[in-house]
Each structure stands twice: as C-alpha cells, then as structure tokens.
C-alpha cells in the first residue's frame, strides 16, 4: 500500500494506461487487493453493481478475457450480457457508432469493449454516456491485462519500483506489452524488451525501456520475465524465418531461466504456446505464476468496474 493521498477515481472510462497517472494506477491496484478476498469466499458475490447493466462487446474473438470480465461482473451482482459480431466488423466496415448507440438505447451502464482497431474505444468514448472499458484495441492497449500483471508482481514482490521486468517476444503486435510498458515505467520499474528487430516497435526506447536482442543478456538479473505469444505471419509479412528458429533463440526453458534472479517469476498473458515461447516443464514449474495471473484478473477487473461505476453516475 502506498503512503500517497488517494485520488478519487473520476473518469467514466478506462481506455489505457498511457493516460493514467501514477496515483490512478495505484488506486486500481489497491482496490483490487480488497476485491481478491471476494473470490475466496463460499458465496462469491457482493452487491456493489446490483441493478447495473454491463455489456461485453467483443468484436474480436476471445474466450479467456471475456469469461474473466463476465465473472467479475456477475460477482459484483451486475447484469452482464455478451455481444459479439460474427466475423470482424473491420472488414465489413460496420459503423461502430451504430452499434454503440444501439447498446446505449438499451440503458446500459458500462460497455467492456474489445476491437480489432487501435483507438476504437477512444473514438467511441466521447460519443456515449456509457463507461467504456478497453478490453483490447488493435495493437494499442489491453489495460486490464497489464494491471493484473502489475498486481501479480506487486503481490509477490511487495513493490514495483526498482524491479527489473523483461518482456520477450512479439512486442510490435502486443497490446499487452504496450500497456505494461506504460504502467511499469510510470511506477518506476526497469523495463527490458527482447526479441528480433522485426518484432520491436520503432523508437520504443523513447518510452523509457531498454532493448536487448540477446535473451541471456536481457533476462540477466531479472525479477520477472513475461513471455509473449508469437505468430509467424501477420498481414502477409514474414517476421522471422521459422517457428523452430524462434523457439531455439528466444524460447524460454529451465536452463535459460537460470540467468534471471533465483526468485524470479515467470508470467504469460496466455494462451501459452508450449514448446514455442516456453518449455512445457517451465510453464508448470513453481516459478510460473501464469495461473495466478488468471485468478488476479478477476479481482482487478472487479476493481476497475467498481471505480468506473462511480464516475458514470456523476456525469448523468
């Protein structure tokens, strides 16, 4: 817990960590701690969002994030409903405004939105009274995932400031990595990015992270290593020669992981590609907190929904 005076949460949306202050991020993490107890109970419910309606608008396929949000909403006693569009609305050129306006007409309080286009929730948030929670927009941000990653880190290590956190994999297309970079650098962690040049975004050093291509050097002395999924081809561009070469140069295994600190933890936003970015045995080892991340995800999402629900009332 911090000693700072807590700022009350006043925004109706959570669009990303890029525009959040340190105090706001810490408020979410502190609030999440209080909510993690709810999921341990017999009766996993609190009446906080009773009578509130939340729509999960997932325009990009997802099972894990969607289920996590749904459970968080139901445990807060909200009326939760999912809406997915068949196929990608991007290729159909469907008007997002129409979709959102229709949802608003159902008198919904919060929309949890996942969309294939970066910036879609930002564009939509100005035009609706509903609170918008970004559950992933294109390759831009996935704030609740980064928040649960940071929450997990903080729970295990006691703090974030000064920790060395390393991300290995496809950073270029990872909204999870981007959100983490924003959040971790704001909270004072040392962030290292590792991968082939083809998977690293232009100028990322200017965001305050180190880029190291050699995996052994990158994870040397790391407190936490997060592995990212890779896809060989994106948009008809081949980004590396073969899965085999990627696995042999960047795949994390028990031997390699020894270069990190002895008490280092391993994280992965999932789903895991066993044998590609991570050795199967390592994924199941005691140093892997991948499943803990999933559990913490519900507490973090409950905290976010709780805080946002206060701000929406204000704006009406």
């Amino acid at each position: 817990m911090t000693q700072n005076i807590k700022t009350p949460w006043t925004q109706k949306d959570l669009l990303g960590l890029r525009d959040l202050s340190v105090a706001e991020i810490e408020l979410i993490l502190d609030t999440a701690k209080s909510f993690s107890e709810v999921s341990q109970r017999e009766v996993k419910k609190v009446p906080v969002l009773r009578g509130k309606t939340v729509v999960n608008l997932f325009l990009e396929p997802s099972t894990r994030t969607r289920v996590s949000f749904e459970l968080a909403e139901k445990r807060l006693s909200a009326d939760s409903i999912g809406m997915a569009s068949g196929g990608s609305s991007m290729t159909k050129g469907e008007s997002l405004w129409d979709t959102i306006a229709n949802i608003e007409a159902l008198k919904v309080d919060i929309i949890v939105m996942r969309h294939g286009s970066s910036g879609a929730p930002h564009r939509v948030s100005n035009y609706t009274k509903c609170g918008i929670v970004n559950a992933g927009d294109g390759i831009n941000e996935h704030p609740t995932q980064a928040l649960l990653d940071m929450f997990t880190l903080r729970e295990i290590k006691g703090k974030i400031k000064g920790l060395k956190v390393v991300f290995v994999g496809d950073i270029l297309h990872s909204r999870v990595a981007r959100s983490n970079v924003w959040g971790l650098t704001k909270l004072g962690a040392e962030v290292v990015i590792c991968g082939p040049k083809t998977l690293i975004p232009w100028g990322i050093e200017e965001l305050g992270v180190k880029v190291i291509h050699d995996v052994k050097k990158a994870i040397d002395g790391a407190d936490a290593v997060t592995l990212l999924r890779i896809q060989m081809e994106r948009q008809n561009e081949t980004l590396f020669p073969s899965i085999r070469e990627y696995a042999s140069t960047y795949g994390m295994n028990t031997e390699l992981f020894k270069y990190a600190k002895p008490d280092a933890i391993l994280m992965h936003p999932g789903p895991v590609n066993r044998g590609v970015e991570i050795e199967s045995a390592l994924a199941d080892s005691a140093q892997s907190y991948i499943l803990k991340q999933v559990t913490n995800g519900i507490a973090v999402r409950m905290a976010v929904l709780y805080l946002l629900s206060g701000a929406i009332k204000n704006e009406k």
Binding site: P8, K33, S34, V38, E42, K45, V46, A303, L307, S309
Partner: protein, 182 residues
Amino acid sequence: MTASEKQVLDAGGMERVLARIAHEILERNQGISNLALIGIRTRGVFLAERLQKKLYEIEKKEVPVGILDITLYRDDLSEVGPKPEVHETNIPFDLKGKAVILVDDVLFTGRTIRAALDALIDLGRPKVIRLAVLVDRGHRELPIKADYVGKNVPTSLQDRVTIRLKETDGEDEAVISGGPKA
C-alpha cells in the same frame, strides 16, 4: 478536545466501559466457547482487539478477531459520486456455528450495521450475531438494536460524535461537538 467539544467519555471511562461489556458478553454467552469478535473498520477493529484482550484477561482463552469492511454493502453506493475506498475484509476463521459479536464505535442510523449483517451472511452462517458499540447516539432509521452499549449519549441530529482512540488518534475519548450555533 477543542473548545466547542463536550467530552462524554474519557480514557478511564472507556476502559471501564469495555471491561463491563467483556463481562456482559461472557455472562450472556455463558462462557467463552464459540465466541468470535468482528470489528467494523476502522475503529471497530481496535475496539474488538481491546475486547479480545479483556476477555483473555478474564478467561485466559483467546477469542478470534476478524476485520469487516462494509463499503461494498453500503446502501448509498449508487448515490455517492466517486466510489469510496474499499479496504480488505479479513476473517481468518470459519463463521459456522460461532457466536459473533459485531463491534463498532458509534451506533447512529443503523445502516452500517445493516450492511455488516448482509456482509456476514454472505461470508458464512454464524449461529448468532450480537452487536457491541462504544456509544449509542440514537436516531435509528432502521429497526436495529445494540446488545451491549458502552454509553448512551442523547444527541441532536446536528451534533457530531467523535471517537478518538490511542491506536489511531493518540488518545482515548468520546466527544460531542456542533449542535445549534450561538
């Protein structure tokens, strides 16, 4: 205490009142078995811990203490603007079959206790729930009654009752302030 405050309990008074409540609890429960103390954040928790000590002094047995945060059960959540801070609820024992003594500093409208009861029911099934408060200032808005009261203090609605505890404020006292201005 400031000039406009009137003291209704001093440090000594508070000690005596807590000692009496401890005895009353034991009397009604016919002993110490199955007792559990649950303090309502924040000051209720410290009072529960003091009661725990008093009970130990008498019976030489430790009664478990739990911490209850009732923020998520408040009935005014949809009205209050930015959401109030939530703190942890921590009840490290099974509620089933226990005689729970809810502990709070001031009993006023009764809404806090109503929220606490809802929270407790969600957390388990105690055998019985009783309420101990340091000060009862009247003006109930719900049919709630305290089983153990430190001091009954008649107040007007404009009055403010402030409890100070050594653990949080450096001294022990209960004061009333405010009321119709001169």
